[in-house]
């Protein structure tokens, strides 16, 4: 009787990783799905802000959904604290279009996975990577770099493209049958969708080119601004705050974050401690947070920006409330109407 083969899979819950897990599961391999939480997940942002079209139906964690559908246990690994300093700020293989260190990210996650594999006695690791699908991290040289640098080498299997790649140890040793793996490559998802249909996998997120904030230029700009003004002493909360709102830099250490809707205002409420808060009582208005030590002029500017994004924007003056710790007050200001001024402050 064959020894029960056990594998770890990186499972984001997207179509490719779900399929890879299903393909390996179909070969009678016991699978544990690992889902890494970096703090930069776009889906987390959507979930935090809620489903605006249907507030009663919250966004789900797709990895958990995939695990439930496939009856594969999912373990979420929290790497937020290490990820920023070790991966985002010092990528050996550089950035993609934004501040996305995709190759280093894969290496880091797979190093962690290798440690778990060795610690718990799993035989190999697989991912849903598809040769040629992503311009930075899924070309052949980076796929090889990732396998090498993670320390997994030939213990790393990519089931969807395996037949286009050199034979891995799981195939060589007969843990999985290479003939039942696939030769998918390129950016089209057509073959994956056909395969999903064959496996009766019907509920998966639309392929959307990734689920990370870091490639997004707007997010990357805010992160660069943060690092330039605050250095690398960053908390996960700081990173979370970059995900929402309009951001304005008033001075070296003073930044203003303005909520764009009720969902963002509610989210921002969790970050009031240690920051000044600004709002308008007489009109529907954003919640604005001020970071740093604002001068009287900074506070007035922040109030004018808040008035600008309130429903009182067309009024000649608007009374704006502020609170900072035990101190609070009201300023009557002219809403900021000068787009050019706003653009010079906008991050």
């Amino acid at each position: 009787m064959r020894e029960q083969i056990r594998a770890l899979g990186l499972l984001s819950g997207g179509l490719d990783s779900t399929l890879a897990a299903r393909v390996i599961q179909a070969q009678n391999v016991e699978v544990l799905g690992l889902h890494f939480s970096t703090g930069f997940c776009l889906a987390d942002r959507h979930r935090i802000l809620g489903n605006r079209s249907n507030p009663d139906k919250p966004y789900r964690n797709e990895a958990l959904r995939a695990g439930a559908d496939l009856s594969i246990p999912i373990e979420i690994i929290d790497i937020k604290d290490e990820y920023l300093p070790e991966v985002v700020l010092n990528p050996k293989f550089g950035y993609g279009s934004g501040m996305n260190p995709c190759i280093d990210c894969r290496i880091f996650m797979l190093q962690k996975t290798r440690e778990i594999m060795e610690e718990r006695g799993y035989q190999f690791v697989f991912t849903g990577e598809v040769l040629g699908q992503r311009p930075m991290s899924q070309r052949r040289p980076p796929l090889d770099d990732v396998a090498e640098e993670s320390g997994l080498g030939r213990l790393l299997l990519r089931p969807l493209s395996a037949r286009l790649l050199p034979e891995s140890i799981p195939e060589e040793r007969g843990w999985v049958n290479r003939a039942e793996l696939f030769d998918i490559s390129g950016r089209s998802r057509k073959k994956q969708m056909e395969l999903a249909s064959q496996f009766n996998i019907i509920d998966y997120p639309q392929p959307a080119g990734g689920c990370c904030s870091l490639p997004d230029e707007n997010y990357a700009r805010k992160l660069r601004d943060f690092l330039a003004h605050r250095g690398t002493d960053v908390t996960p909360d700081d990173m979370m705050l970059l995900k929402v709102g309009r951001h304005f830099r008033l001075s070296g250490d003073v930044k203003v974050v303005v909520g764009r809707d009720q969902g963002e205002n509610t989210y921002l409420e969790r970050f009031i401690q240690g920051r000044a808060e600004i709002w308008v009582d007489d009109f529907p208005s954003p919640l604005t947070l001020v970071e740093g030590q604002p001068t009287a002029i900074d506070l007035e500017t922040a109030c004018r920006i808040t008035a600008r994004y309130s429903d009182g924007r067309d009024e000649p003056t608007v009374p704006v409330r502020w609170r900072l710790g035990e101190s609070e007050g009201q300023l009557t200001v002219v809403p900021c109407q000068d787009d050019a001024e706003l653009e010079t402050l906008r991050i």
Partner: protein, 112 residues
């Protein structure tokens, strides 16, 4: 598959999701439950409530019951899904105006 067919299948899957979102205990039974483990995830966002649950449940004995306190709406879906994937039993949740009490019973087998 046409988008219409896919939409129909997705709808069926939503029905399936609702099925497993229902816990195995009724509200009055949940209200009487005395949990063995209390997991406080108030003020945290997804996936932190799930992470705290999985970490505490890893040390729980078979049959032990944990109560997760959370105010992230995502627990309504994610904890049942986590239970389904890991084999733990989702007992149900009590929802108040601003928070949730979610009850989970540790499976009687070891996690892989």
């Amino acid at each position: 598959m046409s988008s219409q067919a896919r939409s129909a299948r997705r709808h069926r899957n939503d029905q399936e999701l609702r099925r497993y979102v229902h816990g195995t205990l009724a509200r009055d039974a949940l209200e009487r439950l005395v949990p063995d483990i209390l997991i406080d995830a108030l003020g945290t966002f997804c996936p932190e409530p799930v992470i705290r649950t999985q970490d505490r449940m890893a040390d729980a004995g078979p049959g032990e019951i944990a109560m997760l306190l959370a105010d992230d709406v995502g627990v309504e879906i994610d904890i049942p899904a986590w239970c389904l994937s890991t084999g733990n039993e989702y007992l149900g949740l009590l929802k108040s105006e601003s928070s949730y009490k979610v009850f989970v019973r540790r499976a009687s087998f070891e996690r892989p």
